[in-house]
């Protein structure tokens, strides 16, 4: 019997019991779709985080207190404003250094209010990070040096407090203290369900006074070029250690952050894929089970086929192809379902989902392999049936 004939026989057999074939495929469909969807979500999350970190700007060094260990709880910052001045001296250019001290506060304008993240910063922030101003301007050096009560609003905060009106020049209060709005950021949009426009920048000097603190949470330095980053980071850490011999400081680059985040999200994607893989395996066991039932049910048919000249391998091939057909058709439908669902999820929810070709190839390959692996035992059993015994079966 030719392979073409074997396919035809297998297709006819599956057609003859459509409902059972469909239900058997369902297990595979769900498994394959799960692989595609979960991997798409994992990949999407990873890409979004990477874009976000890269979007901060290039050649950035982030200086944080303590040893960089993403597993440990963050240490309390010992950085002060005079440390910032020391770092500026090392770098040699104030415009390359940014700082942040944040606090969650309620911001009011008239009767409207919003709880948001208020960040104390230097006037250099837009030069270090990629941030553009939509209306008005950013903070000035004299705002920082004299501790003026001026604020730049994230676009979401501006909309909440002022709607369509231009907020520049208006009064707001932050933690009960009056501020004047000098500018509004251009929108950045949402990512990973976090609204990146939900913040307010004020001078760090003002922030320390209002929040009643002297700490600086984090510092970022923009290196003049990529090659100078390592040397610069070593010198900054050295200077800070001299000033605080009892503390550790670390300077991490975007690549390092990306590496760690990428590893974590890679593991997440792997775990999701493994969970989905298990459901695919369960689907495969279902196929095997149904094929065994099918061999039993069709014992007389097998006996008859053998009586008229089917060789053991003709029968074996027929049942193997049935299993492979069930799983590959299930695989194709599952891929279509998975890709479709991932696209819908990406379109209508904040969950990013990016379909990757490898997950589709993997899901398809695994489902075909599952068909072969789980089809072999029933197929062999069918091929070895004694024709006389088979013909007598009820």
């Amino acid at each position: 019997m030719s392979l073409t004939e074997a396919w035809r026989v297998a297709i006819d057999a599956l057609r003859a019991s459509r409902l059972r074939s469909g239900l058997t495929m369902l297990g595979v469909i769900i498994g394959v779709a799960a692989v595609v969807i979960l991997v798409a979500i994992g990949t999407g999350a990873k890409q979004t985080v990477e874009e976000q970190v890269e979007g901060l700007g290039s050649n950035l060094l982030l200086i944080v207190p303590g040893q960089v260990d993403f597993g440990a709880a963050p240490t309390v910052s010992r950085l002060r404003l005079d440390d910032v001045d020391a770092v500026i001296r090392v770098v040699g250019d104030r415009n390359l250094v940014a700082v942040a001290t944040s606090s969650g506060e309620t911001v009011r304008a008239g009767t409207r209010s919003r709880f948001t993240s208020v960040v104390g910063v230097l006037e250099t922030t837009p030069k270090v990070f990629v941030r553009s101003i939509d209306r008005g301007g950013y903070l000035s050096r004299s705002d920082v040096e004299t501790g003026r009560r001026v604020a730049v609003l994230g676009s979401a905060v501006a909309v909440t407090l002022f709607g369509e009106r231009d907020p520049v020049g208006s009064q707001i209060t932050i933690a009960g203290v009056r501020f004047r709005v000098v500018g509004v950021f251009a929108p950045l949009g949402q990512s990973l369900g976090v609204d990146r426009d939900d913040e307010v920048h004020i001078p760090i000097t003002t922030a320390q006074r209002v929040f009643d603190t002297s700490r600086v949470d984090a510092m970022a330095v923009k290196a003049p070029d990529r090659d100078s980053m390592d040397a610069l980071s070593a010198r900054i850490v050295e200077v800070l250690r001299e000033r605080h011999p009892e503390s550790e400081f670390s300077a991490v680059t975007q690549e390092q952050i990306l590496g760690v985040l990428g590893d974590i999200l890679g593991i997440l994607t792997g775990v999701l894929a493994a969970i989905a893989g298990i459901s695919l395996l369960v689907g495969g066991v279902g196929v095997s089970n149904i094929m065994l039932v099918s061999v039993r049910e069709r014992t007389r048919e097998i006996g008859l086929r053998k009586a008229v000249g089917a060789r053991p391998r003709d029968i074996g091939l027929q049942f193997l192809l049935e299993a492979v057909l069930l799983t590959t058709i299930g695989g194709v439908v599952g891929i279509a379902l998975g890709v479709g669902t991932a696209l819908i999820v990406a379109a209508i929810t904040p969950v990013p989902a990016v379909v990757t070709w490898w997950s589709v190839a993997l899901a398809f390959g695994v489902s075909a392999a599952v068909g072969i692996i789980f089809g072999v035992v029933p197929a062999q059993r069918a091929g070895r049936l004694d024709p006389v015994v088979a013909l007598r079966a009820e």
Binding site: S2, E5, R300, A307, V308, P312
Partner: protein, 235 residues
């Protein structure tokens, strides 16, 4: 190749001192206890005997569906003990046609496709298969039933489809195990007439197992079995 009714004396199928026993819960049940029989080209023989005497077991051996526990089985001149399962399957396809008491047609499959089935395993192309199946169905008087499924056919028609399926490969011997057992006398008579016509006009050797003395009497030879042995062969 086809022998005349007078019979070229070539053994088509033969068993020599063949036994066949089954193992049942550790007990050996002998179904055949030393049987020798030769089916020649163009032969027409009937096998009779009480239930359980081993008639079906013998038919399965003659058709190469089974192998003897001891003794020899020759199919088309070849000793079956030296053949693989695949070789034996090919020999069945080429030399033997089976007709069963319970028809054994594939459900949900048209008469045409049922008849064409053995040709699949012979590697005949689809168009050719269809043509041969339709011709053979016409030969058994079912040219008007090509697309009927088994459940849309009468018992007699189903058995004629089964005979067409046995004939489509142009076998040298037709083995029919109680072919009329499930049919009323008119349908049974039509089936038997068909077998006799094939024997007389095409020289196909026919072996029929039957409980019906009348049917047995019409064969050229009568073989009587009892308790797994042949107790008489006339002539």
């Amino acid at each position: 190749m086809i022998g005349s009714a007078e019979g070229t004396v070539t053994a088509l199928v033969a068993v020599r001192d063949a036994t066949r026993s089954y193992q049942l819960d550790g007990i050996t049940v002998p179904a055949l206890r030393g049987v020798s029989l030769t089916v020649e080209r163009g032969d027409y023989l009937a096998i009779v005997g009480p239930s359980g005497s081993g008639k079906s077991t013998l038919m399965h051996l003659l058709g190469g569906l089974d192998r003897p526990t001891s003794g020899r089985l020759l199919l088309d001149g070849r000793d079956v003990s030296s053949l693989s399962a695949a070789d034996l399957a090919r020999l069945r396809n080429e030399v033997i046609g089976f007709v069963f008491q319970s028809f054994h047609l594939l459900a949900r499959t048209s008469a045409r496709d049922n008849v064409a089935l053995p040709l699949i395993y012979r590697g005949v192309r689809k168009a050719q298969r269809r043509r041969l199946a339709e011709e053979t169905l016409a030969r058994v008087g079912l040219a008007h039933r090509l697309d009927h499924r088994p459940n849309q056919l009468s018992g007699g028609e189903q058995q004629r489809v089964a005979i067409a399926r046995a004939l489509v490969t142009e076998p040298s011997v037709l083995l029919a195990d109680e072919p009329t057992g499930n049919l009323d006398s008119a349908s049974g008579e039509a089936v038997l007439a068909l077998l006799e016509e094939l024997n007389a006009e095409r020289g196909v050797a026919v072996a029929v197992v039957t409980h019906d003395r009348g049917i047995a009497g019409r064969a050229r030879r009568q073989i009587t079995m009892r308790d797994g042995v042949i107790v008489s062969a006339v002539p």
